[in-house]
Each structure stands twice: as C-alpha cells, then as structure tokens.
C-alpha cells in the first residue's frame, strides 16, 4: 500500500486528466479577475495614451504622451503638483499619526482593563459609520457660526476658525477627520497582533528584569511587526486613494484636492474625455506603488520569527 502514498505525493491531484482539475477550478476566479479587475487596469494604462471618449461609437487614436504633457505642462499644472504634494502630506500624516495613536490605544486596551470590549467597540464605531455620516457629524461640529468646536475655541483661546471653509486649515481638519474615522480599524489589527504574543515571553522578560518600556520595545514591538506592516500598507494605500471624505466635506475647495480626488473629478465631472483621468490614475498608481514597495521593504526587515 505504500506505493499509493508515494504516487499521491508525486501526483497530489491524481494522474491524467485529473491533474487539470485544479487549473479548471482556478479558471473561474481567474476569468472574473481578468474581466473585472486586471483587464480594466491594463486598459486604463492603454487609454492614458489615447484620446478615448466616453461616447459609444466614437473612435480613438493614440496621442503618445499628450495626456501626460497636459497634466504637467499646461495652464493648471501648478494645481496638479499641489494635489500631489497634498496627497503626500495626507499620506505621511495619516499613516504616522493613525498608526501611532492606534498602537497606543491598542496597547492600553490590551492591558485587560475593565470594559475593554466597550472601549474596543467605541473606538471602532466610526469605521462602521461610513463617510457620509462622518462628514455630516464633523460638518456640524465644525460649523463656523454656531458649532460646538468654535465655541470651545472661543472660550479657550478667544479665537474662531472657518474650518472646512478656510484656505489654510481645511486640509488639516480633513486629515483629522480621516484619522478619527479609520483609527479604530488599525487599532483592531494591532489588538489581534497583541493578543497573539505568547505570555511566557513577558514572564521570561520579567525574570530577566525588564521594565514596561523595555518589554514593549524588545518583546511586543518585534512580535507585532506583521500587524505593523499590514497597517502601514493599508493606511498608505487608503490615504493615497482617499477622495470620499474630501468630496463630502469641502468638495476639493480651499486647497484640499488630492490626486484621488482629481481622478474622480476628471472622470465624472470633467469632459467626456477619458485619456486625461486615465493618465492621472497611472501616475497615482506609480506613486502608490513606489511608497508601498519602500514601506514593505522597510517593515519586513523588522519582522521576527517565533
């Protein structure tokens, strides 16, 4: 009977036609993926070199780099560059602050303090609310005329702000709302990571005389590095492709445009021409790719096996 097992190992799916079954099964998701995801992505790249229009029956021609030239060397290119700068600011601030705060809160909640489930739920709640509701809530909080935040500012500093109507501050407030909204998500991932850290490591550390910071720095942090990687990636990609909260709060006014917002705007509100938004998407993709690759390389170094 031993040979059967050997054959099984050599041919885990059997012999002859049977060998193709896994491939056939894979065909279904592959087909769906190609039709609905990979295909359109490749088409976007191709379209970015054409003057394709959102009109049935209209023909299109290859125009070389014209769309890219229009993006970076035309009348409003200054705004495009500012969108890119805004996107990078948005990404850095959101990634760093959101993960920092989330990690801090996750570590505190993980101390098994009373009512940790309640806190977990409270911090996660904004994620469930959805962008429209969040924008509405903060729109009311930040109402410059009668809003509670302005009253607080007035009482504390004798100062009033225009919030989402201010050229200098609106973007900062959007970043704040974005972090407020998604912090719970990062926190949950950190919590999952924290709970998988074996307790005996802390005990061993305790015997060796570590203090709280040392045990966090040398035991907790290296062991939750995988969650850190995941959170970094999620917040980088998330922040880079955010346009919904901008749309719902300032609608891109008052210097709050990002690349993702521009893509949305050019695609759905601009002209029927799809070449320019395609080119914009390609640039956005390249920038995201660059940062994701760098971030993955950096964080992977810190991960340890246990």
């Amino acid at each position: 009977m031993k040979w059967i097992c050997e054959v099984r190992e050599m041919y885990p799916f059997g012999k002859g036609f049977n060998r193709f079954i896994p491939l056939l099964l894979l065909l279904i998701p592959m087909a769906l993926y190609i039709v609905f995801y990979f295909g359109p992505s490749i088409l976007t790249v191709i379209y970015s070199f054409t003057d394709v229009k959102n009109l049935p029956g209209s023909t299109y021609q290859f125009v070389g780099l014209d769309n890219y030239r229009e993006l970076f060397f035309s009348g409003n290119s200054g705004e495009r560059w500012r969108s890119i700068v805004n996107t990078l600011i948005f990404m850095f601030v959101v990634t760093i602050v959101q993960n920092g705060v989330a990690l801090f809160i996750a570590v505190i909640i993980n101390q098994r303090l009373k009512g940790d489930y309640f806190y977990r739920a409270v911090f996660f709640l904004p994620v469930v609310l959805g962008v429209a509701v969040v924008a509405l809530i903060w729109g009311m909080m930040f109402d410059p005329l009668n809003g509670p935040v302005n009253r607080l500012y007035d009482a504390l500093f004798g100062y009033q702000d225009m919030f989402f109507g201010s050229f200098t501050h609106a973007f900062g407030y959007i970043i704040f709302v974005q972090i407020w909204m998604y912090m719970g998500y990062s926190m949950l991932i950190f919590l999952a990571g924290l709970q998988s850290v074996p307790k005996d490591l802390y005990e061993a550390g305790h015997i060796d005389g570590t203090n709280k910071w040392q045990s966090f720095r040398h035991i907790t942090f290296p062991l939750i590095a995988p969650s850190f990687t995941v959170n970094m990636l999620l917040s980088i990609i998330g922040a880079m492709s955010t346009f919904d909260i901008i749309l719902a709060t300032t609608d891109g006014r008052f210097n709050t445009r990002t690349m993702a917002y521009d893509v949305y705007k050019e695609t759905f509100r601009g002209s029927l021409e799809m070449g320019l938004p395609s080119a914009l998407s390609v640039i956005q993709f390249l920038i995201i790719l660059l940062f994701v690759v760098v971030a993955v390389r950096q964080t992977r170094k810190r991960e340890v096996e246990y």
């Binding site: 079954i21 035309s74 409003n76 050229f167």
Partner: protein
C-alpha cells in the same frame, strides 16, 4: 471515474455559462413595452417643486394617451445627474432628458482650442433629435428658442424657463422700518448698506461655503461693467488679447465684490451653506440675501409671514443700465434620437408645451416663462421680476467660454472672489486679477 465525470461536467458548465453571456439579450422582445403600453423614459434631477409639476403633467398625459406609460426617473442634482445623463444617453436608454441651461459653451471661431461641451458632442454624434419641424416649438418665444435651443440653425432643445441670478432678496419690513428704499445706483447701494450697519443690522447673507453663490452678485457686476456693459465684447476681447482679467473693468468687478465681502456680508459667510442661507434671511438675521430668483419658494417656505422683494444689484452709477436682471435659462429638454421611443418623446414634449400644461410647470418651477402670454399668477414674478426683464442678459457663467486646463482662479466660468482676503490668500483685487490673467495666458492653446 467520478472525478473525471465531475470535471467534465464542470468544464461543460463553464463553457455553457460563457456562451449564455453572449446571447442573454436576445430574449428581449426589442420594443419598449410594459404590458401593452409603450414606455417613455424621462430623466431629470431632483428638485421637489419641479418634480411634482412634471409628475402631474405625466399623469394627465397618461390619461389622454392611454397607450403610453411615462417612466420619470430623477437622480441627485449636479454631478450625479451629469453621470446619469451621460450613461443613459450613450446607452440609448432615455427618451427625454433635461439639461441645465442648454446650448452653452459651444466653441466659436474666436475660441481656438476650446473644449466641445457634452451636448454638442451628443448632437454631432446623432444622439439628439432635431426638433426644428415640430409644431410645438412655435409655442415658445422665438428669441428664447434661438438663444437656448438652436445649434447649427436647427432646433434641438426646449428651454422651459429663465431665472434671474443677479438680484438680492430684501426684507421689506426692515427696509420700511428704517426708511430705506431699493437702491438704483452703486453709491446708493453702499449708502443703504452703511445705514443698515449703523442700525446694527447685518446687510447681506450669502452662502459662501458652497462658493458658487458668491458668483451671483458678481454676475451683476460683470454684465454691467465689463466691456462698458457689453459683456460679449469683453469676453471676445479676452480671447483676442484686447481685454484682460487685470484690466480696469475686470479689477473694478473684483474690487466692488471685495467691498461687499469685507464690509457688508454676515460674519462667517464662508461657513454658511446654500441650504441654510435663506433661513438667515427669512428670520431677519440679515436684511438682504444674494441668491437666484428660483429660491423665492424656499425663502417663502422658511417664513410664510415674511414680506420680501427682489431687486437687481446696482452695479454702476447709471440707474437705467442697472435696472435689469442677469440670469440664465434653466431646465432645457432634449429628445433622444436613438432612444427606445423617440415618437413618444416628441408626443410628450408636444403635450408639455401645450400652454395649459406649460403653465402648470412654470408656476411650480417659479421660472420666468419662455412662452408668451402665460399667466403665472405669481406676485413674485409679476411684481418683482417682470419690471426688470426688459433687457434680460445672460450671465457671465453662461456666455464665457473657458480655455482648456484653465487655472483654479478662473475655473468653472467664474472669477472666484472667495480667493480674496480675509478668507482667501489674496490681499487685493489687483493681486487676484494678475494671477487670473497669468493663468489665462498660461492656458492659451500652444
């Protein structure tokens, strides 16, 4: 063996399902039918008062022509509508569709490189029906059809009404109590504002948060000041390099708006959104509201007791020149050439254009009629708007044709006074004007 069989079955199922994709449409009988009735698909944006009137007209239509069913779809306004419009017209899935202020921004010979607007591309690709020979077109004022329904000497659209944009709603009670009257010139207007301020009354409220409402008073200034009152000449001039965004007239426009923004508008107007601005005015928190005439029903609803009027913002010292509104055409109907039921679309437009039905519509919408001899029975239209309709001019936003890739200080056919201090980064009108001219030149076709 069983494995082999299941694999075969699976492969078969796969190919079958793929094949099924290709022929799924053939089951459709083709014609637009709901039961025995022919469906007319109408696409419009959500606007309560207008939607109700159209639904009423649709009901009457279905009673008169029982062979038709009207499928009236409304989407959210602005972008959402624009998307729906594009999707449906290009899929030939609509018969009658509304557009806002139809037939504008069409490139001219003096606008090299200007973008061809959606509606023009639709007409050029044969998606819009030619209405030139339809009898119902004659129900409308020939001048309005010419201005807002004609392209290449053919009629493609029905402009259903006009709205004034350049006026200010004013609280009659506040004006009377303080012995103030409607100003006829710019200096009278400034004096009025000062008088109000001296009595502790906020003169003007405007919805700055949405930014576009700031354009409305500017339209009055632009129409009366640019080109010495000939806006078209100025706009052509700016394309040809004869006039400029930082010439004397253009700076005067910005300067005057800056005066209003700095001194006479309610504190924090950049934080007031369009939906709430009328309530500030209706509850007496400000004496005037800068808003379009279409918002009169909203103002009335916010405070049914309020007595209010509407006067054109007096842009210059010439009282006669000031005494007319600047505005635009509002809802404009197109019929789809390749829609499922073109014949039904024409029938519906004909029915809509019958004076009786048109009156129902125009009364509910609060528009200035584009058909002659319509009794709107509206105090507001008859007493507040009509006296100033003699020299009705189209707003800058409608007449201006922008260059492609124009910078943000001129985008969306506006001059964006929100960029002026204190809220915005530019301290003086001249600074903003210089940036605008620079952006205009930078966007010149290469």
């Amino acid at each position: 063996m069983i494995k082999k069989l299941s694999a075969l079955l699976l492969a078969g199922a796969l190919t079958f399902s793929l094949a099924a994709c290709g022929s799924s449409d053939s089951a459709d009988p083709g014609g637009p039918a709901k039961g025995d009735k022919k469906v007319i698909k109408i696409l419009h944006w959500k606007q309560d008062n207008i939607n109700k009137a159209i639904e009423e007209i649709n009901k009457k239509f279905e009673e008169k022509y029982p062979e038709y069913t009207v499928e009236y779809t409304t989407t959210g306004p602005d972008d959402e509508y624009k998307q729906a419009q594009r999707a449906r017209i290009t899929a030939n899935d609509v018969d009658v569709l509304a557009d806002l202020s139809g037939m504008r921004l069409s490139p001219q010979e003096w606008t090299p490189g200007a973008k061809v607007p959606d509606w023009q591309q639709w007409i050029d690709t044969g998606l819009i029906a030619d209405l030139s020979d339809q009898a119902f077109i004659k129900n409308y004022n020939a001048n309005d059809i010419e201005k807002a329904g004609t392209y290449n000497d053919k009629v493609y659209a029905v402009p259903t009404g006009k709205v004034a944009m350049s006026g200010l709603f004013y609280n009659k009670e506040i004006f009377e109590q303080n012995g103030l009257s409607v100003p006829k010139t710019w200096s009278e207007f400034i004096k009025l504002n000062d008088d109000l301020k001296a009595k502790g009354i906020t003169p003007i409220v405007v919805a700055g948060k949405d930014v576009w409402p700031l354009k409305l008073p500017v339209f009055a200034l632009q129409a009366k000041i640019l080109g010495g009152g000939d806006q078209q000449k100025w706009i052509e001039g700016v394309w040809k390099g004869e006039t400029a965004y930082n010439d004397e007239e253009a700076i005067e426009v910005l300067e005057k708006m800056k005066t209003l923004q700095d001194n006479y508008m309610i504190d924090g107007f950049m934080g007031i959104d369009y939906a709430t601005a009328p309530s500030y005015f209706a509850t007496g928190k400000a004496a005037m509201l800068a808003d379009g005439s279409w918002d009169a029903p909203t103002v009335a609803a916010a405070n049914p007791e309020l007595k209010f009027g509407y006067f054109p913002l007096p842009a210059t010292e010439d009282a006669a020149k000031n005494a007319s509104f600047v505005g635009k055409y509002d809802v404009t109907w197109y019929a789809a050439e390749k829609g499922p039921n073109k014949e039904g679309a024409l029938k519906w437009l004909e029915f809509f254009s019958e004076p009786e039905n048109y009156t129902t519509f125009v009364k509910a919408a609060g528009f200035i009629p584009t058909q002659d001899n319509i009794q709107t029975e509206s105090d507001f239209i008859d007493n507040e708007l009509t006296p100033y309709l003699g020299e009705f001019e189209l707003a800058y936003e409608i007449m201006m044709i922008n260059r492609q890739n124009i910078g943000e200080h001129l985008a969306a056919e506006g001059v964006h006074t929100e960029f002026l201090a204190p809220g915005g980064p530019y301290k003086t009108a001249k600074e903003l004007a210089d940036i605008q001219q620079k952006e205009w030149e930078a966007a010149a076709p290469k």
